[in-house]
């Protein structure tokens, strides 16, 4: 059945009536971000207009009648449930998988980004859910005959295969090594310019994301030595080059350099938006793979440096991308969230709370606004986990640097609802709460160096995390006096130092140090080493007298009105569309 579809699909490419009626599976974004990515890709191919998601849903009924292209629904009836080997010990590939890889391969060869995306994001996940929840996908050798033994396709297949391994089972050391080797081979091929594929941005992002995830996972795995057998230790010892920190950094850097993405982005800052306008796709018949991988590697480096505790390096790596603008990174949800999470976190650790608050606020707002679109996404749980983590980080930043006016109302409500009580405790300098929220929300820090195998085996997988936590809590402790000074300052316009000291029950020199430290801690040093005040309540000392500076609260009406104008417009449009009963 499936082969019939394949055969027929082969010569009916021109008359693709049903093309638009495909089930729309990727998380959809609202208005201005309306899946431009794929629309553009498709427009360039067959000049067709993008249709609204509503049309897709209406047209879904037609899908079953279509014989063009691959549709996994057709195979539902006769699914093989087990994956056995035949009498010769050969892996028996289920028919549905044969068809899947054959079509997948064909679409990749034809650079049909739209179809590749459908199969990658939709069919692959559906098949995984239906057939491979406890078992693995067929090994690459088993599917190779159905894809002309194509070298690059096999590397891509293995990339997905191992991703599924990591998501399904606890990977063995051998699998970890093989996956590392596969990434090395894949990146080598791409770096040497031997590919002319056009792959969906989502997949390219997932590659970088997974590459770093598996690296981080390996570091954690290698750091747990206590319960390992002698054989396991010997095996590990031989894996020195596997998931090596230099290797990981070198690949990411090589992708950035070979793609010349930094130059491309620099040109864009002069107004030449060739990369961003096409979302990185190449419509001149070239390949987007290296360029976009290079772009995502910038975010990858941000993440790796954060995992190592190198926040300064992390932000420096990200500098080619302007996070205050829309860019290719905002087109892929996972990438958008990752970028803002690590950017915000690094800023928080560098005491640039205002910058962190702005970042978390904007991405949390984005998640709220797009929630209905990704609620069906396979990444939904991950998105929500990050959402909760970023709420916790925002709560920490706001407790250390009360700048409520930087946060939108509905984010405020979300915080109050989820973390209201904890924020009160943090404002009273309760270290246990800081500890709790930090531990919940921080990245999975890693120790990049290999263990010393000559020493008695021990677990050191928590070391990096414990260090970051400890240093963060030291910072919190140094700011201990800040909240109480702040709450007193709110009550006065002027107050002598001696009087405030007696109110606070500390001696004058401690208070003077506290006030000076308040000033120091409420200032941050930005990337250009400018010193900026983040204080909401400010003061200065003239001799022995503290003068409190009234914060000038200018309400921002512009924001408010423009938001409501847009909302009003939307409502009127909605009303106009409605048909009134006669």
């Amino acid at each position: 059945m499936a082969y019939e579809a394949y055969a027929r699909g082969g010569d009916s490419r021109d008359g693709r009536e049903g093309h638009d009626s495909r089930d729309w599976r990727e998380p959809r974004e609202p208005r201005e971000r309306d899946s431009r990515e794929y629309r553009d890709a498709r427009e360039s191919r067959d000049g067709r207009e993008y249709r609204d998601a509503r049309d897709h849903r209406d047209a879904r009924e037609d899908v079953r009648d279509r014989r063009d292209g691959y549709d996994e629904r057709e195979e539902r009836e006769n699914l093989p449930r087990t994956h056995d080997v035949d009498e010769n010990g050969q892996y028996v590939v289920p028919d549905v998988v044969k068809t899947f890889v054959a079509y997948f391969y064909r679409h990749i060869r034809e650079k049909n980004v739209y179809e590749i995306h459908q199969m990658y994001d939709g069919s692959w996940n559906k098949l995984s859910e239906r057939m491979f929840t406890t078992t693995l996908w067929p090994p690459v050798e088993a599917i190779a005959p159905f894809v002309d033994n194509d070298h690059v396709f096999c590397l891509l297949y293995k990339e997905m295969y191992f991703r599924h391994v990591y998501a399904t089972v606890q990977p063995t050391l051998a699998q970890r090594c093989e996956s590392w080797e596969n990434y090395c081979n894949l990146f080598q091929v791409i770096l040497h310019g031997n590919v002319n594929m056009q792959l969906p941005n989502l997949w390219l992002w997932d590659m970088i994301d997974e590459f770093i995830y598996q690296f981080q996972n390996f570091c954690q795995y290698r750091a747990k030595l206590k319960s390992r057998t002698e054989e396991e230790l010997t095996a590990l010892r031989q894996c020195e080059q596997v998931w090596n920190i230099f290797g990981v950094l070198n690949y990411l850097k090589a992708l950035i350099e070979s793609s010349h993405i930094v130059d491309i982005l620099e040109e864009e800052s002069g107004g030449n938006l060739t990369f961003t306008a096409t979302d990185g796709y190449d419509y001149q018949g070239g390949s987007n793979v290296l360029k976009v991988l290079g772009y995502f590697s910038i975010v990858g480096l941000l993440r790796v440096h954060c995992l190592l505790g190198d926040y300064h390096g992390a932000l420096r790596c990200l500098s080619p991308i302007d996070i205050n603008q829309q860019g290719v990174f905002t087109r892929v949800i996972g990438c958008h969230i990752t970028t803002m999470y690590y950017y915000g976190f690094a800023n928080m650790m560098m005491r640039r709370y205002v910058e962190a608050i702005k970042a978390f606020n904007s991405v949390l707002l984005y998640i709220v606004r797009t929630q209905q679109y990704h609620s069906k996404s396979v990444q939904y749980d991950q998105i929500m986990k990050k959402n909760e983590q970023m709420c916790a980080l925002l709560a920490i930043c706001l407790s250390l640097c009360p700048q409520a006016k930087l946060v939108e109302e509905n984010i405020h409500n979300q915080l109050r609802e989820k973390l209201g009580e904890k924020m009160l405790r943090m404002q009273r300098c309760d270290e246990a709460t800081y500890d709790e929220l930090f531990s919940y929300a921080c990245p999975k820090f890693i120790t990049p160096s290999a263990p010393n195998f000559d020493e008695p085996p021990m677990n050191y997988n928590q070391d990096a995390y414990r260090l970051q936590l400890k240093l963060f809590l030291t910072e919190v402790r140094q700011q201990q006096l800040v909240p109480s000074i702040r709450s007193f300052l709110k009550l006065y316009t002027t107050i002598p130092i001696s009087k405030l000291a007696s109110y606070m029950d500390i001696n004058e020199s401690t208070l003077r140090a506290g006030l000076t430290s308040y000033k120091h801690k409420t200032h941050s040093v930005d990337a250009d080493r400018n010193i900026i005040s983040n204080a909401d309540i400010d003061f200065y000392i003239d001799g022995e007298m503290i003068h409190v500076v009234e914060p000038k609260t200018t309400r921002r009406f512009g924001d408010h009105f423009s938001r409501h104008i847009l909302r009003f417009e939307e409502i009127t449009r909605e009303l106009e569309r409605m048909e009134l009963p006669v």
């Binding site: 420096r316 560098m350 160096s449 070391d463 030291t474 000076t516 512009g558 847009l566």
Partner: protein, 208 residues
């Protein structure tokens, strides 16, 4: 990793130069990170020079940035422990205790020329964002200079940086620090109710 091999030598050169240059600090951090990758190669002498430099870069975060990268098992040992204490005293503006401790740790800090001066600059920085006028003895404590040397120091600051010294009563002096946005709120720019271009652009289709 390109450049790793040659790095320690360059670092030696960097920390051995006479004048303090804040721009090298990011290179130093990179070096600290390299040590994190290969902990068996840790060179304590170079590390303590780097940390001294990082203290000198206050109010920047360089010191914390280095500490984020140094394994905890090293941090609980000397000289890292002393450095942590010194940093803590600077962060919390406890200058008297800081100078006392710095005195005891002279051997550690003196390897980098200009240490004292750099910390004095930091102390003056935090005092001038906090105070309009500061009693002489408070300033003396912060910069660790007193008596005739302080007179000389003040005279120079008056000449070079626009400080003034007021005598309030018999034997009591007040140092007037130059105005800045923090100690003189009238200099602060008023944040007006501005609308970003992006916001306006979104309204265009509605208005047309």
């Amino acid at each position: 990793m390109p450049g790793v091999e040659g790095r320690p030598r360059t670092i030696e050169e960097l920390v051995a130069t006479n004048s303090y240059n804040p721009m090298i600090v990011s290179d130093l951090e990179e070096y600290v990170m390299m040590e994190q990758f290969e902990p068996e190669k840790v060179n304590i002498t170079i590390m303590s020079r780097i940390l001294t430099k990082a203290l000198m870069a206050m109010p920047s975060m360089d010191f914390s940035l280095c500490m984020y990268l140094i394994p905890e098992k090293l941090q609980i040992e000397e000289p890292f422990f002393t450095f942590t204490e010194l940093s803590h005293l600077l962060e919390t503006a406890n200058f008297r205790e800081f100078w006392a401790m710095a005195m005891r740790s002279r051997d550690l800090l003196e390897v980098v020329p200009g240490f004292e001066q750099a910390i004095q600059e930091y102390a003056i920085h935090v005092l001038s964002i906090t105070c309009k006028r500061v009693p002489r003895h408070i300033l003396a404590e912060a910069v660790n200079i007193d008596g005739p040397s302080l007179d000389k120091f003040l005279a120079m600051q008056c000449q070079k940086c626009g400080w003034e010294v007021e005598t309030i009563s018999e034997g009591r002096q007040m140092v007037v620090l130059p105005d800045n946005e923090d100690n003189n709120p009238s200099l602060r720019k008023v944040q007006s109710d501005s609308i970003s271009l992006r916001e306006v652009a979104r309204l265009f289709p509605v208005m047309s």
